[in-house]
């Protein structure tokens, strides 16, 4: 059992490292993710910065930017495999679970890097003062994991179609609606200064969503990937 586990970990890390190396050399996803987020935040702050926005609106703006940035970049993990005709040899070489988890962790890291850039920018541009940092970071972390897991499995589905970009947003939206709604709510609670336990329901929901989504993705992925 430990050997099988370490074998799994080695292969997931191998896929993850390949994605990092590949992204570092091609900037296939990163540039579009960051550019989209920075441009949107800047335009939004110029357009609505003069108005006194409520905490709910500010929280919603952060997650809207993160959602659409994800749509513009995270799907590339599977789309590029199909477009560059590397998917077949990968299918023969690795088990579907290794591929899915390797690519999921890569998307997650990409999203975290995006947040390292965009969240401080958001806090400055919209003059947001986070009062409960532990809740804010917990919601940001869990919301990102939910976003990455859903986008990764949907990306695998749409990579085999002709309308990749459009379909990704259409299919992801209903699945991500609960995550976005709860993350916005959790962020608002963190910004308004309520204690951590006030947002505990949101944290529990996000955690449950991730468990369900990752389990369903792992069960579905082989069918999606091998079809």
């Amino acid at each position: 059992m430990p050997n099988r586990f370490s074998d799994w970990v080695t292969k997931i890390i191998t896929v993850f490292k390949k994605e990092i190396k590949s992204e570092f050399r091609t900037r296939y996803a990163f540039n579009s993710l960051v550019m989209f987020a920075v441009v949107t935040l800047t335009v939004l702050s110029l357009a609505v910065g003069q108005f006194a926005l409520t905490d709910s609106v500010k929280s919603a703006l952060l997650w809207v930017v993160l959602f659409f940035s994800s749509m513009s970049g995270l799907a590339q993990v599977f789309i590029k495999e199909e477009e560059r005709k590397t998917a077949s040899i990968l299918k023969l070489s690795a088990l579907p679970y290794h591929i899915f988890l390797g690519k999921f962790f890569f998307n997650l890291i990409l999203l975290f890097i995006l947040e390292i850039i965009t969240v401080p920018l958001f806090l400055i541009l919209f003059e947001v003062r986070v009062q409960t940092w532990d809740l804010f970071l917990a919601v940001l972390f869990l919301g990102s994991v939910g976003l990455a897991s859903t986008t990764t499995i949907i990306a695998a589905i749409v990579s085999k179609t002709d309308l990749k970009g459009t379909l990704l947003t259409i299919l992801s939206f209903p699945l991500l609606l609960p995550v976005l709604g709860i993350s916005i709510q959790g962020t608002k609670v963190a910004v308004t200064g309520a204690p951590f336990y006030s947002g505990f329901a949101e944290v529990k929901f996000l955690f449950s969503y991730i468990v369900v989504m990752l389990t369903a993705s792992l069960l579905l992925f082989e069918t999606v990937w091998m079809e």
Partner: protein
């Protein structure tokens, strides 16, 4: 000893039937050439054998010493070289080799990987990105990747495409080695390439 059995394999793409009720039995060591006109389903049949495409009907069985192997192990027995299967262009040849060997449980040292590249005449080009390779060099690298995991079944689609004379000579040597104790299945339009196989299977009319 490895046995591949194709039992009543049929394939449709939508309304179009590519082939119907193909029955085949191959026992290692052996080599088979699949020939036939364009569009008769040679590549599709190769992909069905290695598990990349599901047949519409029928079953592919792989038996090792009389025991049927599972779905996941089945894929691990096959390596394929085909024009529509590409390697990662942004990675170097050595990185590609390392990536695929680790994923297929073959932990090879850098020296061993370099040796694989030497076998296909790419010894000094291992640190260059595959994107900078010519199409012939990419084909050679596909052979290195396919053979780096010592596959029980080597599947070749148009085996000499893009290769120069020296490349064809190297490829012939690799096929001869593989044929000695394992299986080689190739699909080709060039009658000259059927000489690499002991048996011929004709698809289509």
């Amino acid at each position: 000893m490895l046995l591949i059995e194709l039992e009543n394999i049929s394939k449709w793409f939508g309304e179009r039937q590519v082939f119907e009720n193909i029955n085949l039995k191959l026992e290692s060591p052996a080599s088979l050439a699949i020939i036939g006109p364009n569009g008769c389903g040679k590549t599709t049949l190769l992909k069905i054998i290695c598990g990349l495409i599901r047949p519409s009907r029928g079953k592919v069985r792989i038996k090792l010493d009389g025991q049927e192997v599972g779905k996941e192990a089945k894929r691990a027995f096959c390596s394929i070289v085909a024009p529509d299967l590409e390697l990662y262009e942004e990675l170097t040849a050595l990185e590609n080799l390392e990536f695929f060997t680790v994923l297929r449980d073959f932990k090879s040292s850098r020296a061993e990987l370099n040796q694989k590249l030497e076998q296909v005449g790419l010894k000094d080009r291992g640190h260059e990105p595959v994107g900078s390779y010519s199409s012939g060099m990419k084909q050679r690298l596909k052979y290195a990747v396919a053979l780096s995991v010592s596959p029980q079944v080597l599947i070749l689609d148009e085996p000499s495409s893009n290769l120069d004379e020296e490349g064809i000579f190297l490829m012939e040597k690799l096929i001869e080695n593989q044929k000695k104790d394992r299986l080689v299945i190739l699909a080709t339009n060039a009658l000259k390439e059927t000489q690499y196989a002991q048996q011929i299977f004709r698809l289509g009319n």
